[in-house]
């Protein structure tokens, strides 16, 4: 692959991560990371919506009147989200029941608007598609890491399966109730940012 295109895919996962570096999409990172499963469902739905919204906006980029470009972007995002929701309700009813909560959250996710505005409006469809994939992957990875620790320490489970054995509880161990509350998501994200900045020389500020 063209190194420039490859960068579009890999940069958002690390040194240009939408959550830890650009600090976008924090609200949904707080809301859906109590358990691993909703975090994964959310990541996949954002992946789909962002990749296709990027392509559609990129295809339309030369025709969109600049005064109403934000509205056009919103219409496209809402269109995709509703379409996905309808199809899931008909064919994958169980998944749709989990997803329905996130529909509103996807539309308001600032990563999507941010990428449409910053990238798709000025680039060709294929790079826009890659940018969408890369950014949603970067978003998803952080979501999954945060959800893993919150579920493990907050509920003693991973993907709803109990991993902390019963004898540990009998010895007096307790699940940390604070982990299931939103502030801990912020602190976990903070710790990830700290580790990432310490490990990546490009990100260390003077």
């Amino acid at each position: 692959m063209d190194p420039k295109n490859k960068k579009l895919l890999t940069n958002p996962i690390n040194i240009d991560n939408p959550i830890t570096i650009q600090v976008l999409g924090i609200c949904s990172a707080l809301a859906v990371t109590v358990k691993l499963e909703p975090a994964v469902v959310m990541s996949i739905s954002v992946l789909f919506v962002l990749a296709f919204a990027n392509v559609i906006i990129s295809l339309l980029r030369n025709t969109i009147p600049s005064r109403i470009r934000i509205i056009v972007q919103l219409v496209i995002i809402a269109f995709l989200v509703i379409l996905v929701d309808q199809v899931l309700k008909a064919f994958l009813y169980d998944v749709s029941k989990q997803l329905s909560v996130f529909v509103g959250l996807i539309i308001t996710n600032c990563i999507i608007m941010g990428r449409l505005e910053a990238f798709a409006l000025a680039n060709k469809p294929f790079p826009a598609f890659l940018d969408g994939l890369g950014n949603s992957a970067g978003y998803g990875i952080i979501l999954i890491i945060v959800a893993f620790f919150r579920e493990l320490l907050g509920s003693g489970t991973v993907w709803e399966i109990q991993v902390i054995p019963n004898f540990v509880y009998e010895m007096g161990y307790q699940n940390n109730g604070l982990m299931i509350l939103p502030p801990m998501a912020l602190i976990v994200v903070g710790i990830i940012i700290w580790i990432q900045r310490a490990k990546t020389p490009e990100l260390i500020e003077n």
């Binding site: 219409v75 379409l83 309808q86 309700k89 008909a90 299931i180």
Partner: protein, 238 residues
């Protein structure tokens, strides 16, 4: 045409919106029968779960007709009324005057044991809650409960549809020993809160971090069951 002119902007927006609306309404209309069927099957599955009958998406309709022997409507005074219980929309009934409301009742029969199933509808933190409670033949002891929700917070309030929350309802009683209607109380304070409060007859534990959903659920059970109070008292004598 000038891309920044008012006319262009206006036409562009109109075409875009009409196009999107057309595609979406077309999808909604084509998919609606399938979605409707999913909702119906889910309702049947929920009713079956409340009397501990496991069902899958494929066999739910067959099991439903096998086990749900009877369904009818009752009014607030406990008199039976004619009508299709399955098609009765509880939400519409709730908006009528109290005397005009018809409440659906299902009777399940399995291994010669009869259970009364009563549907519930209420409000959570973000949207509607609903569920089914099945009662033993004394019309007082809960045999099983199943709850669901539209939009409660995942991992917190959303857990009302998990087995660990529903299971403790089994064996709880709606009426006290004198026959007064008490309903079920949901106790805040994590695991064992109902035990600490000393209310094992009528109390269950709330969900930590899901207090408003838990309280909404408590109100739902109380308000809905209240409507059946007369019917349950009458059925007990029979």
């Amino acid at each position: 045409m000038d891309k920044n002119s008012n006319l262009y902007t206006f036409i562009y927006a109109s075409i875009l919106v009409i196009l999107v609306a057309l595609v979406l309404s077309f999808t909604a209309i084509t998919l609606s029968p399938m979605q409707q069927r999913n909702i119906e099957v889910e309702k049947k599955q929920n009713i079956l779960t409340s009397v501990s009958i496991e069902s899958s998406f494929e066999n739910a309709e067959e099991l439903f007709s096998n086990y749900i022997k009877e369904s009818f409507l009752v009014d607030v005074k406990g008199n039976k009324k004619s009508g299709d219980a399955f098609l009765t929309d509880l939400k519409k009934e709730m908006s009528k005057d109290l005397e005009d409301r018809n409440f659906p009742v299902y009777i399940a029969e399995k291994d010669n044991k009869k259970n009364i199933i009563i549907p519930l509808l209420g409000k959570g933190l973000w949207g509607p809650l609903w569920g089914y409670i099945s009662l033993e033949k004394d019309c007082n002891t809960i045999f099983g409960a199943v709850f669901d929700h539209k939009a409660e917070t995942p991992g917190l309030g959303a857990d009302i549809n998990k087995e660990w929350f529903e299971k403790p309802f089994t064996g709880k009683k709606l009426f006290d020993k004198k026959g007064n209607f008490i309903s079920i109380t949901v106790y805040k304070g994590g695991k064992g809160a109902a035990k600490i409060a000393g209310d094992l007859e009528h109390g269950v534990d709330a969900i930590s971090g899901g207090t408003i959903t838990s309280k909404g659920l408590e109100d739902m059970v109380k308000d809905c069951m209240k409507n059946y109070e007369e019917f349950l008292k009458k059925s007990k004598i029979n």
